[in-house]
Subunit: 76 residues, 7 copies
């Protein structure tokens, strides 16, 4: 990854890939990154909620409000 | 869902459909998505409040302030 | 309620009607919706504060700051 | 109070009158409303702080930052 | 104090006077008001920190970030 | 470092270097600073999460939302 | 310090001087003020973290996000 890239470029490269999103409430949502905007609002597909590494729930596509997000990283 | 879509496009496709909204206070509101705006303020119809998967209350239409929302997903 | 309506349209239809407002501090204010703005600052008349469904206090008209509000729904 | 009024109109009518302000930290400030702005920053005169309905302190005029306010109502 | 004054006018009149500032973390800072801006960022001189009415610390001049402030009142 | 520099200049000099980021939730993320923007959204590569100085997890590249960050400092 | 000065003027005079910064999480960072901006983002050099007046850690230069800061005062 060359220097001078911007953070949203990184999110753009993660489109259609699996990501892990950590939320401020301590939960984790894993799924395929479909869409994002400058507020870091996110849409995942095939989303799954984990708490303490335990699968809690499965969603189809999920809209996550940006201000609840701590970090986003590739799933692998 | 094609790439390059934006998060609000996803909300738009959920209009008139059943959604589950998770709030920062740990509660869940389920209902039919009627309206939203860029702040993610939401209006649901036939809304029901759940806590720990137990139905707590029924509303008619409900206005939910966007900054209290963690995520929005289709009800099934 | 037709599609493509906006959340504030819903508030507008609730003017002069009884509403229940849930606050982030766990309290509930019930009263007649007199005025609101884009910040969801609200003015109620004949407002009553409830906690755990128990009437705690009566106000005349009350100004509620928008950022303390979780949701607004018709009282019945 | 006619329909279509805005929330700040209500505050304007309360100028020079006694109001009760509830703060997010659970305290109550009572006094005469002297000034406000669009952030709901408030100046009271002859302000008194109450906690659990007990008078804790008297101030002269007091500037209250808007983002600490839950609601403002006439004292009667 | 005449009607229609704005909250910042009140702060302006308090310049070079002793004030008490209450912070969201429960502490109190007392000192001479030297400067403020529209964010209610404040500079005090001869500032002293109190907790539960006990003097904890003395500063020289102190810059206080506006969003940590609950209220500002004249020291007497 | 000469005077009159701006905070983002300092971040710019840290590009491609190891940094430690402290988050509001008490965790620490260490990695190589790849990108940042004016909201202090950050991208790290070879990121590792520490809690109480214990390595908890390794990520590849990680996007960190700016409003969860307390401070950023060079790793050595 | 003459009247009508603005809060950022005070920060400007503290450049290249030792300051104490109190954070919302109860920690204190001491160091030499190198840079700041209108969000009160701060860069310190030779920064040291204290908790309950005990030195916890030394950094080189440190970027501190403005919204985590309560106050900034000269170190003596």
């Amino acid at each position: 990854m060359e220097s001078n890239s911007r953070p949203l470029d990184t999110l753009n490269k993660a489109r259609d890939k699996k990501v892990i999103i950590e939320l401020k409430n301590g939960k984790q949502i894993r799924g395929t990154l479909i869409a994002f905007d400058i507020h870091i609002n996110i849409v995942l597909e095939d989303a799954e909620e984990y708490q303490d590494n335990e699968l809690k729930r499965k969603f189809g596509s999920t809209f996550i409000r940006g201000d609840t997000i701590i970090l986003i990283s590739p799933s692998e």
